[in-house]
């Protein structure tokens, strides 16, 4: 990671205005979005959007042609190009031929993408942004930090200062007053500009129409008053049918700003009269800029299903800490990372792709049904393919891929870390590792790993067998979780076997884009876990379970190793996470929890992979309640704890504040215990409470249930 990038993160997370504003907004957004979608089947709606946009992406060329034909039949001039420079030149030519000296713009990300304003200004044309947020950042000489709310990073005081300079008058930071100033200042521009430039939210091939949505009313003015209107439209805005407009209008404002509809929507189909009786000159520019290439890419085609609502930014636990500018100058956040890789260049995402913690919150809310985390993984994979892994990481994965060496080193580490360990924790690490134990202790590596302890466990005779996949954390840091799991399954008549050859699930390599390394891990594990006939392969780590159920298959698929797929599928079919299996056993009457217990309040933290990939959230809650705990839900129970595997080591300055927020939300419930199903989350949250006042007991569900199963 580059030093300037690290510095920009450092600045952002220490900017209290920014993190305060974004934090408050993200909290309000979730509530308001849910309210806006009340009574609407979101899954059904986004299924339709994904279909209609996916359908459009598959035939961009034909739709662009159809759009051109229909818009031109209505009197518009359509210019289609793949080249951003050609867009700029075309607009300048139209302006010069039309004697344009002033241009009023309504918000358009496509023009940000091609840096249009400086180009036109250099040619001596005055260009004024009229969207309030865009105008603010134009005055400030900045770039948008958010697709929908470009100036969300600025405070009212900063805006007041900017406006004061503009009007030569000392303005207070009263927001309605500032908005009034903007209205008065921009009015002459609307009335005098000879050209209006807009973007488009939707372009309809069937009718040659463009759809514009605004709340302020500036797009209506920009498309009404100047005698020339130029709309710059990325071809991903194309949809086939006029009726598709209703589908997108149903989701876009709800997802973008939690509104049922924006204040103004205009559907423009051909020129309309000017006030001098002439017809407006309407130019529509269909801009490709690598969108067709994206459409031809089997992985990235889905990114064209984006309707630019920015909800992926609004729910991102990283975005709300660092804001948009860390991501770059045009598109920001999760989808922004993907768009930057294409519309700018892959290399530009080298640093920013690392910001994604893979929690999956964005995927849950995306109205275009885009698997944003997966596409960011794909960017990683392509970067690694192109540029190779950093040397340090290469060395690490060579070790991880050699089970004997890796496990040998972990054992050695247990001894080496002794001088720093107290009470099972590493509280301080020396020098360059110190960031890792800032505000969070790390677990000491167990003196005796689970694989050694396992041999000493006596199990009763059982009718069924399960293989236990421990994963590195349970094996080497929390062996007691493995023991608890065995004691529970034994009571259900299941003997647990521990295939010794099992190794790392490959997550660290996979989430860094090193798929070959991950596939090596996958194959070792498949061999080990399928060696014996068992009914289940059970894991108490959701990230490991996701690997067993999904990622091994995907690793092989993406590398074209189809011969390995049948075995990977066989393993996936047997694999199950701990809570799902135990819930099933309780429902079948094979396990009974002690009755009539009153164990007090508990709160539950949803781990990202368990909730959003495995879709498991009710099972552990029901089990804990059955055991006698009174569940008190915490605020943002399914928001990431900031662990993210090696993320917390690569970006501790981001992971740290996310953890602090989680600790706060846990404390607010007043419950003395917090349960979770992931040893990684336990490591992060337990480590956080170890260094904080007012500690709360942090337990894996397996430990809590082991104490409560009858028999």
């Amino acid at each position: 990671m580059g030093t300037t990038f690290k510095e920009s993160i450092h600045q952002a997370v220490n900017n209290a205005n920014l993190t305060g504003a974004l934090g408050a907004f993200s909290e309000a957004y979730k509530v308001n979005r849910a309210r806006a979608y009340e009574g609407i089947d979101f899954e059904e709606l986004r299924g339709r959007i994904a279909e209609l946009k996916g359908h459009a992406a598959a035939q961009l060329d034909q739709l662009a042609e159809q759009f051109t034909r229909n818009a031109e039949a209505r009197g518009a001039k359509v210019f289609r190009t793949s080249d951003p420079a050609a867009v700029r030149e075309y607009i300048l030519k139209v302006a010069q031929e039309g004697g344009v000296t002033r241009i009023a713009k309504s918000k358009s990300m496509a023009t940000e993408e091609i840096h249009l304003n400086p180009y036109l200004e250099k040619a001596g044309i005055e260009v004024g942004e009229t969207d309030l947020g865009e105008w603010i950042i134009q005055l400030a000489g900045q770039t948008p930090s958010h697709m929908v709310m470009p100036a969300i990073h600025m405070t009212r005081q900063e805006v007041a200062e900017l406006f004061s300079k503009e009007v030569n008058e000392r303005l207070s930071s009263d927001i309605p007053r500032l908005v009034k100033v903007a209205r008065e200042q921009l009015r002459p521009l609307f009335l005098e500009a000879e050209m209006g430039i807009s973007g488009a939210n939707i372009a309809v091939a069937e009718t040659g129409s463009i759809v514009l949505m605004t709340n302020e009313g500036n797009a209506r003015l920009v498309t009404t008053l100047p005698r020339i209107h130029v709309a710059v439209v990325g071809i991903e805005k194309l949809v086939a049918q006029y009726g598709d407009v209703a589908t997108i209008l149903k989701a876009l404002p709800r997802s973008a700003t939690a509104q049922l509809l924006t204040s103004y929507v205009s559907i423009i189909s051909g020129p309309t009269p000017n006030d001098d009786g002439s017809q407006k000159e309407l130019h529509i520019i269909l801009m490709d800029n690598r969108r067709s290439e994206m459409a031809a890419d089997p992985q990235f085609r889905q990114a064209l299903q984006c309707i630019r609502c920015a909800s992926c930014l609004n729910v991102c636990p990283i975005f709300r800490l660092v804001g948009g500018h860390v991501f770059g100058k045009v598109y920001t956040g999760g989808i922004g990372t993907i768009l930057t890789a294409w519309f700018d260049e892959l290399k530009k995402t080298e640093d920013i792709q690392g910001l994604c913690i893979q929690c999956g919150a964005c995927k849950d809310v995306c109205p275009g049904k885009i698997d944003i985390p997966e596409l960011i993984m794909e960017i990683r994979r392509r970067l690694v393919k192109k540029q190779g892994l950093p040397l340090m990481q290469q060395a690490i994965y060579r070790v991880v891929n050699n089970r004997r060496l890796f496990h040998g080193m972990l054992r050695a580490a247990s001894l080496a870390a002794k001088p720093f360990a107290t009470g099972g924790f590493l509280r301080h690490l020396p020098l360059f590792l110190a960031d890792l134990t800032d505000k969070r202790s790390l677990p000491a590596i167990a003196a005796e790993p689970f694989r050694d302890r396992f041999r000493k466990i006596k199990q009763p005779p059982c009718q069924e067998k399960a293989a236990f996949y421990a994963g590195c954390l349970i094996d080497f840091a929390y062996p007691e979780m493995g023991e608890a799991l065995i004691s529970i399954l034994n009571k259900a008549g299941i003997e647990v076997v521990f295939p010794d050859e099992q190794t790392c699930c490959g997550a660290p390599a996979r989430y860094s884009g090193a798929y070959e390394v991950a596939a090596g891990n996958a194959m070792d594990n498949i061999k080990a876990l399928l060696a014996q006939e068992v009914q289940y392969v059970v894991s108490a780590c959701p990230t490991c379970t996701v690997a067993l159920q999904h990622e091994f298959i995907r690793d092989f698929e993406s590398l074209g190793q189809t011969e390995r797929l049948p075995q990977a599928r066989e393993l996936a079919a047997k694999s199950v996470d701990f809570s799902t299996l135990v819930k099933q056993l309780v429902d079948e009457g094979r396990l009974t929890l002690q009755d009539g217990q009153q164990l007090g309040a508990i709160t539950y933290h949803d781990s990202c992979h368990l909730k959003r990939t495995l879709q498991v959230s009710q099972q552990p809650r029901e089990l804990l309640e059955k055991a006698g705990y009174a569940l008190t839900e915490m605020f943002e129970c399914d928001t990431c704890c900031g662990m993210g595997g090696s993320y917390s080591m690569k970006l501790p300055e981001i992971s740290g504040p996310i953890l602090q927020r989680k600790l706060h939300n846990i404390r607010q419930t007043g419950a003395p215990v917090v349960a979770m199903d992931c040893p990684g989350c336990v490591m992060q949250i337990r480590g956080g409470f170890d260094q904080a006042e007012g500690g709360v007991q942090v337990r894996h569900t397996v430990e809590l249930l082991a104490e409560r199963v009858k028999g």
Partner: protein, 182 residues
């Protein structure tokens, strides 16, 4: 559907009224204009864009009214306090007004002014957007406009503020007698 529309529209700060007859609606509007103190000088007058409602009443009576102009130009609209226009449709599920706005005067009256009074035939209330798009098509309208509440922004610190570039008040006047567009 009227009640649903009213609830939704008021939810986004629009004001909603309903009258059985043209004369009832007209009486309300003239009263409203007087209440707002319209007068002939710039910044204080109202403009009324040509529309079916106007065609159905005695224009003479309106011409007597001080501060009301039945002519709409860009210059007049830019200095008008109030703009009156007619919209064809209303969507119950979002509180939205919609209509063909390819004529310039209606758009100017509803965009540049400080306050917009929209006349709507009660029979124009539709359940939702798909119902609208079935009736209002690009073939018959080069500029389809939808209006949901007054102009608003939240671009400064996410604080909702009413009235940026468009009107800061939207007064919706339904008239049962106005009939539908169909």
């Amino acid at each position: 559907m009227f009640e649903q529309f009213k609830g939704r529209a008021e939810g986004v700060s629009a004001e909603v009224y309903r009258f059985a007859t043209r004369s009832g609606a007209l009486e309300f509007i003239t009263g409203f204009l007087q209440g707002e103190g319209v007068a002939d000088q710039p910044g204080s007058y109202a403009i009324w864009a040509a529309c079916p409602f106007l065609d159905g009443i005695e224009r003479q009576s309106l011409q007597q009214l001080a501060g009301l102009k039945l002519e709409v130009t860009r210059e007049l609209a830019a200095a008008a306090k109030i703009g009156i226009s007619q919209m064809d449709w209303a969507l119950a599920d979002t509180g939205t007004l919609a209509g063909d706005s390819s004529r310039l005067d209606g758009r100017l009256a509803s965009t540049l002014t400080g306050m917009h009074i929209a006349l709507v035939p009660t029979s124009g209330i539709l359940p939702d957007m798909p119902a609208l798009l079935e009736r209002l098509k690009p073939d018959s309208s080069a500029y389809i406009a939808m209006i949901t509440g007054p102009s608003r922004t939240a671009d400064i610190e996410r604080v909702l503020t009413i009235g940026v570039h468009g009107p800061s008040r939207l007064v919706i006047v339904f008239c049962d007698e106005l009939g539908g567009t169909e």
